[in-house]
């Protein structure tokens, strides 16, 4: 990953946190003094290196891991704002990335019961819950949206 792509990635993530949503290519282009085509080209390289995930149909950001650009079943309240995470791992990852405590709201995929977890002093308040990962690590990026 060269310096230009590192800068583009950093700007993209900074804008995501500032806006509370995925930035558009035009917004990042305005921020970095690039053309939108340059931004999309850079995003494509970052996508290929698993530094973010693009929607194949639109070339817009789908994931800036651990953040999700689209609504999911994993919501996180952190730094006075609600975020969507890509999965339960990423939900805790949002608190970690923002270096803050927070509240995670999801549900048990089996019974649908609400599972709400407060993260206080970097620890979950309910240690009884379990995390299940279905896909082996070797195949996580075969289909990262499914993973």
């Amino acid at each position: 990953m060269d310096e230009h792509d590192l800068q583009l990635r950093s700007s993209t993530y900074s804008l995501f946190v500032e806006l509370g949503r995925a930035p558009t290519a035009i917004e990042v282009a305005d921020s970095d003094g690039l053309s939108p085509a340059d931004v999309v080209g850079g995003w494509q390289r970052l996508h290929e290196q698993h530094a973010l995930v693009l929607d194949p149909a639109t070339a817009e950001i789908r994931m800036a891991n651990p953040f999700s650009a689209v609504p999911t079943a994993h919501r996180v309240l952190a730094k006075s704002r609600w975020w969507y995470a890509n999965c339960a791992w990423d939900a805790f990852g949002i608190c970690a990335a923002l270096h803050t405590d927070g509240r995670i709201e999801t549900s048990c995929p089996d019974c649908g019961a609400a599972l709400n977890v407060e993260v206080r002093d970097q620890r979950p308040d309910d240690e009884s819950l379990l995390f299940h990962c279905l896909v082996p690590a070797a195949r996580w990026w075969d289909d990262i949206v499914f993973t």
Binding site: M1, L6, R9, S10, Y13, S14, V17, Q49, A51, N65, P66, A73, N86, C87, A88, W89, D90, A91, F92, G93, I94, C95, A96, A97, L98, H99, T106, C108, P109, D110, C111, A113, L115, V117, V119, Q122, R123, P124, D126, E127, S128, L129, L130, F131, H132, C133, L134, V135, P136, A137, A138, R139, W141, T147
Partner: protein, 69 residues
Amino acid sequence: MNLFRSEEHISRWLGGRAPGATIPVGKLNELAHAWWSDRLLPEWQPHTREQNQAILDRLGLVREFWRLP
């Protein structure tokens, strides 16, 4: 990659599919901090495969299931 209320709920949800890996939420929280805490730092650099594998190993996630490609 989901949270569940118990092993019973995981088993019922799997419905005969082969299980993956289950860890306590406290361990997941540790994993998330090790994996993601540098993500917004200005000096962020991509993790190498070896760095990520070392995170998993350090947390005791050493089964073949956790072996990165």
